[in-house]
Symmetry: C2
Subunit: 355 residues, 2 copies
């Protein structure tokens, strides 16, 4: 095992002292980088890029060459599991992901195969191993998965959605079908993330992009309880090291106490919550990741640095903060502004870590 | 002035005693009703329907014939003001609203005309007068407008948006342009809503559909402060009657205290917040409207009634609750289920109003 040269990210997740607040950006590998677009063009379509370990590794590394990031995140898609279950993931020009065979009924759920992470999803594990080797201990590697509820929204709606009427119809009129689907997905996510950990991921994150479209009761019933199962089923320690887990429910700011009660190490915050109030509510239980509005990266250097400072002040002194955007970086952000952001976090956070 | 035969809705907004919890449904006039589709087909496009006072009146009345609703709401669009300002509103098949001439720069803002409610928007006032006459005091008529921020999102993005990158770019890089736009819109909304009140609206509601995409600080700066100006500028009493005002920020559950501090009479809640906790936080200051997930209307009668009961229990005994969905009714909901919902609110709420 190579020791980590920069372990700020892992230390912050475990609420240990750091010299500066660690920072990474959701979707840090992506279309805002011209070098990404080159590789993407070379690969052809998006999934071919995900399936090619060398190219997935290359795009994972690209932002680390430009910016002083404290973590790398596996380049992949959140919908690899439903695809491996047989739904036929595809992308149409300019539109979001779609499935050829969405889930309509109980039989569709029964027919889903349980993908073996080292068979149907081996391309992901190969990418993890390839990236881990390339990183060579410079920074930790984050593995990830979509949450069962979020995966199910795409599987039932057949793609992205605005009002989520199909899956909610299923939830409220045929709840047992949806629970059967969520059970299968939870089991698969556990296997998938544990395989990523075995392949080298030093921390994992669960993206619950669409949990926030539910009522508090339905969030617990259809999203949180399954993420809780996953937290319970993960290798929380592997090869003698703690493997911290972060849960991120977009628009979940009202439910932080419930999310913290899963026993996760960190909660990802979007920008609709004041990080000071989030820390007050759950800062004794979990680390917090976030939470700058990605659109601030359209602004001037002064404005970006000001916003970074406001968030650092909001979190204040003390352990347990991983700086990030509140959602993925937008594809038309100038890369220079991402550099301003990353550097500002490191520079401006030093005073908050002097004991 | 005709006295109201059913004033439950107004009384609840003013936190006065009622016999049953009043109920209405956002978008209660609309595509889920076959009789609406007939009139819509007759009118041609959507804006022609809005512009025809007789037809707008007819579709406003349709849900009241089917269901025991405690309020009527003006049939119109939230984008009438930007359209009257000269942006050219149009609807493409199956897609959301679009503008022919979106706002890009300061000059575009300067060039906006300030619509006179009884000239460019007279068709709306004619509809209000026509509906008021037709209602003949049976239930109160709700007037409405989009919030300045929400109107501005459509005006700058050119239509609906997912990430609101154009308006946020303007907000963070050219804030003074956006503030100039929001100032104009606020002034226009005040004139527009006051004209609706003069034409007969007995209560008004401001729809801030997209305030929830902002950070807490930016919400105050770009959305709430302008709604506050509007609340201050409205006829809060007209012809000797109080005219209650409701503010509804979708995904605004984290900011209820700030919204209540505007001095509005009522806050509209979406379903992502527990109404019990909302009441605990601001129930001494404002009435609350909401908050059932509209997708519950896909479920069985038993399930719909159960959800109504959970929300009634959540609010508990006491004045100040207007029952509603947390957002507009979905277009594929069976009208029978809307009836089950409305009747359940009246039937199940009686015990909560026995002193």
């Amino acid at each position: 095992m190579t020791e980590l040269k920069n372990d700020r990210y892992i230390r912050a997740l475990l609420k240990q002292e750091v010299d500066k607040t660690p920072v990474w950006m959701m979707r840090q590998a992506g279309r805002y980088l011209p070098e990404y677009k080159e590789i993407r063009a070379q690969a052809g379509d998006f999934m071919s890029l995900c399936r090619n370990a060398d190219l997935a590794c290359e795009v994972t590394m690209q932002p680390l060459r430009r910016f002083d990031l404290d973590a790398a995140i596996l380049f992949s898609d959140i919908l690899t599991i439903p695809d491996a279950m047989g739904l036929g993931l595809y992308f149409e020009n300019g539109e979001g992901p779609k499935f050829e065979r969405p889930i309509c009924c109980k039989k569709d759920v029964d027919n889903l195969i349980m993908p073996d992470p080292e068979v149907e999803l081996q391309y992901v594990m190969n990418a993890v191993r390839r990236i881990k080797k390339e990183l060579n201990g410079s920074v930790p590697l984050i593995g990830f998965s979509g949450s069962p509820w979020t995966l199910a929204t795409y599987m039932v709606e057949g793609g992205t959605s605005k009002a989520f009427t199909k899956i909610k119809k299923m939830a409220f009129a045929d709840g047992e079908i949806l629970h059967a689907l969520l059970d299968k997905l939870s089991e698969s996510v556990i296997q998938y993330l544990n395989a990523q950990i075995e392949a080298g991921a030093q921390s994992v994150m669960i993206f619950d992009t669409w949990g926030g479209v539910l009522s508090p009761r339905d969030y617990e019933l259809f999203s949180l309880q399954y993420m809780h199962k996953i937290v319970d089923g993960l290798h929380r320690t592997y090869a003698g090291k703690k493997v911290p887990v972060t849960l991120f429910t977009k628009n979940g700011g009202q439910w932080l106490e419930k999310i913290a009660a899963t026993g996760c190490d960190c909660i990802g915050l979007d920008w609709t919550i004041d990080i000071a109030s989030a820390k007050e509510r759950v800062g004794d239980k979990v680390a917090l990741q976030g939470n700058m509005d990605p659109s601030i990266l359209y602004a001037s250097e002064t404005r970006i640095r000001q916003e970074v400072d406001i968030i650092l002040q909001g979190y204040g002194k003390g352990v347990g903060h991983v700086f990030n955007l509140g959602h993925g970086i937008h594809l038309d952000v100038p890369p220079e502004n991402a550099k301003i952001f990353v550097d500002a976090v490191h520079e401006l956070s030093v005073p908050y870590h002097i004991r």
